[in-house]
């Protein structure tokens, strides 16, 4: 398991989830959980994914996902899960 959190923040538009999920499927990344919410009129999506079987280095995937986000006008971030775990769990 190599759990990573992908967050998408920005104005809602058609195909955000589709584009991100297609990229993940193409790169052998398994989605474990998806949730989304609207905060101050902004679309917020969070995915918990497993990157253990991905061939690319983490920073390459993070860069490519950010680029997909740019094309959609949203911000896509990849962060390893531990930062959230450490901060919010004792």
């Amino acid at each position: 398991m190599n759990r990573t959190i992908i967050t998408v923040v920005g104005k809602d538009t058609v195909g955000i989830i589709a584009k991100v999920c297609t990229y993940l499927a193409d790169n052998n990344v398994n989605i474990l959980d998806i949730s989304q919410t609207i905060v101050q009129e902004y679309f917020n999506m969070m995915m918990i994914v497993d990157m253990a079987r991905m061939k690319k280095p983490f920073e390459v995937a993070a860069g490519e996902l950010a680029e997909i986000g740019k094309q959609l006008g949203v911000q896509v971030k990849c962060q390893r899960e531990e930062i959230f775990d450490k901060m919010h769990r004792i």
């Binding site: 917020n44 983490f58 531990e82 901060m87 919010h88």
Partner: protein
Amino acid sequence: MINISEVIETNKMIEHENLDVRTITMGINLLDCADGNLDVLCQNIYYKITRLAKDLVQTGENISKEFGIPIVNKRISITPISLVGSSACQTPDDYVAIATTLDKCAKELNVNFLGGYSAVVSKGMTASDELLIRSIPKALAQTERICSSVNVGSTKTGINMDAVRLMGDIVCQTAQLTKERDSLGCAKLVVLCNAPDDNPFMAGAFHGVSEADAVINVGVSGPGVVKYALQQLQNADFELLCETIKRTAFKITRVGQLVAQEASRRLGVPFGIIDLSLAPTPAIGDSVADIIKEIGVEQAGAPGTTAALALLNDQVKKGGVMASSYVGGLSGAFIPVSEDQGMIDAVECGALSIEKLEAMTCVCSVGLDMIAIPGDTRPETIAGIIADEAAIGMVNQKTTAVRIIPVIGKTVGQSVEFGGLLGHAPIMPVNSFSCERFVNRKGRIPAPIHSFKN
């Protein structure tokens, strides 16, 4: 499993509230580099530092990318150079040669600062300690990334007043030699009392002799996060106020702990300590003074400031201690003037004086920090300021420090721009009455009594 609101909260801290890890500092022991020949010594130092720290910056950047948390500085601290250079250096210029070597290492490794051009003289000065101290002005003028510190006292030994008096001169000479850059050299020189061996923050970082061969220390930050959390409370009572600071400090520190453990694992260097400090930057919203204001004081420096700061400092420690396996360094709230926009505002509107800052240093981390004073301030007066601050540290069993900048050619009413994280500062007035007879006495102030606390 982590939920979306927790993820949003963490990312909001990073993106909007200036949460960052202020520094990963690698401490490196240089005692085994010692040699009677200066060239061999410099070579040994160069090889050891560049070998141990070659991956420090890249590792810091990788961790930053993977976790999505900025790591602002990557630094190195080394064994106090007065110990390493004692058998090779016969003149102050010999020490300057070591400083140049260290600066070359720092630039090649691309670390932001290298600290440890230092001497620990809390009880007495050896000949090599004195040579190193006398070389500081030239060393800081000829290098870019070297930080220097001198420890002039401790609770156990008292205060070495000969060293204090000498440092008054050294601060002035450093200002003079870097006067074309608004006396910037003094921003990299700090005079300490009770200096810790494992401090990751500059300018006072050095790798003490009680430490292992190499170690990773991490300094956290996050005044903006604390301020934002307090903003949500409005007029809550002290219980809720303190709880909120503790919770926030816990969260901030956990990120530091994670980064420290990762850096330690990847570099193969043991984890030393987390320094639980609220370290401000000149960025808007990243200010300790703003937290004081949020607690309910109109401007930093107004009555109530010292109490508010004491409360803040204590809660940050209480929250942070549980978040980290090892805590050390300076651990507390920093109150530099030039590096904190709220402090600068307070000075400019007349709310904050050096005397009030001195009172504030009794209850929080470090001391008179990044304060610009008139360039014609006498060395004896600077020595007096150092002695006062050292006395506060000695009696209260805490670290105190003085990093003041007599800006050559400038006086009260003008201001100085250091740039970057060092910020800018209005020149503050200094009490003009003399302490010459006091600081020119020879010898040392005895260690204080450890009972009858009043």
